[in-house]
């Protein structure tokens, strides 16, 4: 079995290396890859320090704000920037469209802003080319061009009849051709691209940071290879199933077009129709209403304030706010924040749930498209997808809440010490600002990513295993 497969693979590799299709398509892909990698490298090396500088400057401004009331400082706030992951060099994913900075201030859970897509020229509406795009969308076309006539050409020329009269089975022929196509595509196209990508990433951040990203990059490479195996197997199955090479090419390009163009549009439209998102205006109006009237709409801010006042006076056993040993404003502000958290958690929770339902619809339809499943996995592993964005959004919000609590607690504890400068008259010093550490965000690990990509991974593996199964089945039935 192995000897026959080896014989066929050896001859097929020699044929493929002589084949101008491989040379020209590899050359075309190299050019696109070079552009994509340069673009990814430029994005990473320019954006990462820019974000780091901006965040450091924003934090320095926070530290240097001088003597100020803590609540004024809470309004002053500072920016948290979503760190650019190293694998954005190979797959920028949704980063341009989701924004990368969030303003952390009192009373508001701000949306992530600073979307690159808002500032770019019209020409960018066609999307950016990334290494991921080259390997997940364009490489399958090259594989189709290399495999569509791998078997049908032998049938048309009559060599399949001679081949099948030797002691070679159809399965051996298909596996041998598949192994050769994999070796040629991997050796000539994929491996050089992966090595150059790894080299560029290492140069961009240095060895230590690169090593930290290796697990995600390793799994990313693994799924690229799974995708290569899938398209080679699909090409051979179709080539072995049709009488004419032209028909094989049409079928394969049809599958690719369906997966790369029709399914994404269908899934996007279907997801939005089944799970519509509220408009930004309606969403903000709802938050304003609930902040004023409580989550249930029947507990106005005034009523809550009065109830709080009564509760605090009772707690401290005094008759008026001026007798309190603590700042009531500090308590009220924190109470207000916590009341707002319920509103934010409910509304943003609902919104994120809608996003996740839309995501689920799209993931379900990715079952029809191995191209999209591979793309989703790639973006997730690169840390440039929606899940990672929501993870960052939640993380930044939790940090904002720490800032608010620190400011409000300080005002509560110290805002009544000087009777002449109570509450908002109280001024805190630099010492308080230093209690807030710089914002840091740790990327979730590979386990988090894989856990969120179960359906896409299952889809890609189902396509691959199913197609390999078809390959064996077609091999057993292979006739001249």
């Amino acid at each position: 079995m192995i000897t026959h497969v080896f014989f066929i693979a050896k001859k097929e590799i020699a044929d493929l290396l002589r084949d101008k299709r491989l040379r020209w398509s590899a050359l075309t892909l190299y050019v696109l890859f070079a552009v994509a990698l340069f673009s990814g490298w430029q994005y990473f090396t320019q954006t990462k320090p820019r974000h780091a500088d901006a965040q450091a400057a924003s934090y320095q401004q926070w530290l240097a704000q001088g003597s100020k009331n803590p609540h004024s400082a809470a309004h002053y706030g500072f920016y948290a920037y979503k760190p650019v992951p190293l694998l954005a060099v190979v797959d920028k994913g949704m980063d341009d469209y989701l924004g990368n900075a969030v303003w952390m201030e009192a009373h508001k859970q701000n949306n992530v802003s600073n979307r690159t897509a808002q500032d770019v020229a019209d020409v960018s509406r066609f999307g950016n080319i990334t290494v991921g795009f080259v390997l997940q969308f364009l490489l399958p076309i090259v594989i189709i061009l290399l495999t569509f006539n791998a078997v049908s050409k032998e049938r048309e020329s009559g060599t399949l009849r001679i081949l099948l009269s030797t002691q070679t089975s159809g399965v051996q022929i298909l596996v041998g051709k598949g192994a050769a196509a994999f070796a040629a595509v991997f050796g000539v196209i994929v491996l050089p691209m992966l090595l150059v990508s790894a080299g560029v990433m290492m140069l961009a951040v240095g060895g230590q940071d690169f090593v930290a990203s290796l697990p995600a990059f390793g799994v990313w490479v693994l799924f690229v290879l799974v995708s290569v195996v899938l398209w080679i197997a699909l090409g051979l199955v179709v080539s072995a199933s049709v009488r004419e090479s032209g028909a094989a090419l049409v079928v394969l390009l049809g599958v690719w077009t369906l997966g790369a163009f029709f399914v994404p549009r269908l899934s996007g439209s279907l997801a939005r129709t089944l799970h519509p998102t509220p408009s930004a205006f309606a969403f903000n109006e709802q938050i304003i209403f609930e902040k004023a009237n409580g989550v249930d709409g029947h507990n106005s801010a005034d009523e809550r304030s009065k109830a709080l006042e009564a509760r605090v006076l009772k707690q401290y056993g005094v008759d008026s706010l001026s007798q309190l040993p603590v700042s009531f404003a500090g308590i009220a502000l924190q109470e207000g924040e916590e009341s707002d958290y319920l509103v934010f958690d409910k509304n943003y929770g609902n919104l994120f749930q809608i996003f996740q339902r839309q995501e689920s619809v799209m993931e379900a339809l990715n079952l029809l498209s191995p191209v999209l499943a591979a793309q989703s996995i790639s973006r997730a592993l690169a840390g440039t997808d929606t899940d990672k964005h929501l993870h960052f959004t939640n993380n930044a919000e939790q940090f904002r809440r720490v800032i608010m609590k620190t400011m409000n607690d300080d005002m509560r504890d110290n805002g009544a010490k000087d009777k002449t400068k109570r509450d908002f008259g109280y001024m805190a010093s630099d010492e308080l600002w230093h209690k807030i550490p710089p914002y840091t965000y740790s990327q979730p690990g590979v386990g988090f990513v894989l856990g969120n990509q179960v359906l896409n991974i299952a889809s890609l593996l189902a396509w691959t295993v199913g197609t390999l199964g078809l390959l064996v089945w077609r091999g057993r039935l292979l006739k001249p």
Binding site: H4, S157, T168, K479
Partner: protein, 242 residues
Amino acid sequence: MLEAINLSKTYNTAIALHSLNLYIPAGEIFCLLGANGAGKTTTINLFMGFTEPTIGEVLVGGINVAQKPHEIKKLIAYIPENVMLYPTLTGLENLAYLSGLSGTAYSDAELVVFLQRAGLQKEAMKRRVGEYSKGMRQKVGIAIALAKHAKALFLDEPTSGLDPLASNEFSRLIRGLADTEGVAVLMATHDLFRAKEVGDRIGIMNAGHLASVVKAGDVSPSRLEELYMETILQKHAQREAA
């Protein structure tokens, strides 16, 4: 060596082969004559396991082809009308590749001997097959059969399109294989003269039926032609009457 027992093949409603009973012993060359669509190629395809019988059995060396199609590949070789080889490989490389796939890896020197026995000029062996004439490709086909040590050889219109000299040389080689190696040969052809010259027995097929079988030595070329015409015309008349 080769045996068909009550062998029939139907494609949808069209009968390609009807109740063929045939035995070809080792060392015999059996020629199948018949017009296009008579069932000659279907018979060869059934013996080679390229298609399954609708009814009946096919045995090669006592092995049922339908049950063990891979097993019989050790025993057979096939030379079609146009031996299609890989045009970018040389004759030597084609032989190395196809004999390797047949289970035996030979040295270049051994392969050269097979090609020489098949009558290919030495200087042609290292030229790409894309530059070969049809006759030269036939010789590589014979070399493949020699390298496989095939016990049965199937020839489908092998001399069609060859000039008389090349046809004669080809016939001599096939005769040699049957006589010296004991190879059983089933040859489908339109060429009555070649069948008479090279065959031990000749079968005339018409519309999927093996209508008559004669010993090549017992029949003159003119009688063979008469018999061929009678068979075809008789069947034609029967069909007209029906």
